[in-house]
């Protein structure tokens, strides 16, 4: 569950990757790369059209066994080798969310930090950004008591 003060509407994943950050960044802006790594598991193939510049659109189609998943959005921030921010919408799923990917260099290795957050109406977002964490923790304990064995996998960082 989120740490105290950590908002419940956002996930953050940190990965250390044994490659220079230019190579990792390239994988995000190269349609060929996206096509390869965006369809793991039972997905069979993907299409990717990326217009990587501020205000540019992207469209990624992942063909699943049962149905296609269409992801679309607009790039908000494009800082080569450093940061990408884009909106993220999924066909058939209400609401737009925001994805931020940051790239850090550690010698020959790099670190990637991905944050995916819900965009509620801004007023609501502002209000629950503060102070929601404490009650979320209480509920985590409560849920754990209610359903032993189920550990909500929502830790912000691994």
């Amino acid at each position: 569950m989120p740490q105290p003060g950590e908002p419940v509407h956002r996930i953050s994943i940190r990965r250390r990757i044994p490659a220079p950050r230019e190579v990792v960044y390239e994988a995000w802006i190269d349609p060929e790369g996206i096509r390869e790594w965006m369809c793991p598991g039972d997905a069979t193939s993907a299409e990717a059209v990326l217009d990587v510049r501020v205000g540019g659109n992207y469209r990624i189609v992942v063909k699943g066994r049962e149905r296609d998943h269409v992801h679309t959005g607009v790039y908000q921030v494009v800082e080569p080798n450093t940061k990408l921010v884009f909106t993220w919408a999924e066909e058939g799923r209400a609401g737009t969310t925001l994805v931020t990917v940051e790239f850090f260099s550690h010698g020959n290795e790099s670190e990637l930090v991905l944050t995916h957050e819900r965009l509620a109406d801004t007023d609501t977002a502002k209000r629950y950004q503060s102070g929601w964490g404490a009650i979320a923790d209480k509920f985590a304990a409560y849920l754990a008591r209610q359903a032993p064995g189920r550990q909500p996998a929502t830790t912000p960082n691994r």
Partner: protein, 127 residues
């Protein structure tokens, strides 16, 4: 099934987030997470009117976070955690989604690096 649950709850989820944005309502939920209570018991520690607390309780009731049961003249309120489980389902969905893809990204990058090294080695031997 999981997807359907996530899709269904988008709107409901926004309501849940809005409901818990209020400190008084969070305090009410916190108290109820210890044990069910009557409206009067809930209102006691708050420096606001019983009427104001009743309004908060109604908001929580609409989100499904709280259930009110009428026993004689008393209204017993109980915390319901299902809407919160749905809130964490959103997080679980995207955590799994990105974890899988970042695994694939790592493998893709590793292949690129291998090809790069091979290319560099080939370049070195041809010189």
């Amino acid at each position: 099934m999981f997807n359907r649950m996530v899709e269904y709850s988008q709107e409901a989820l926004n309501q849940v987030f809005a409901a818990v944005a209020d400190p008084t309502r969070r305090a009410i939920l916190q108290a109820l997470s210890r044990k069910p209570a009557t409206v009067t018991q809930i209102a006691q520690p708050f420096p606001v009117s019983l009427n104001a607390v009743s309004k908060h309780i109604m908001v929580l009731e609409r989100t499904g976070l709280l259930r009110r049961e009428i026993r004689g003249r008393e209204h017993i309120c109980t915390l319901k955690t299902r809407p919160l489980q749905q809130a964490t389902a959103w997080l679980d969905h995207y955590r799994e989604f990105w974890d899988l893809r970042l695994d694939a990204l790592e493998q893709y990058v590793a292949r690129k690096m291998k090809a790069r090294k091979k290319g560099a080695a080939a370049h070195a031997t041809t010189r």
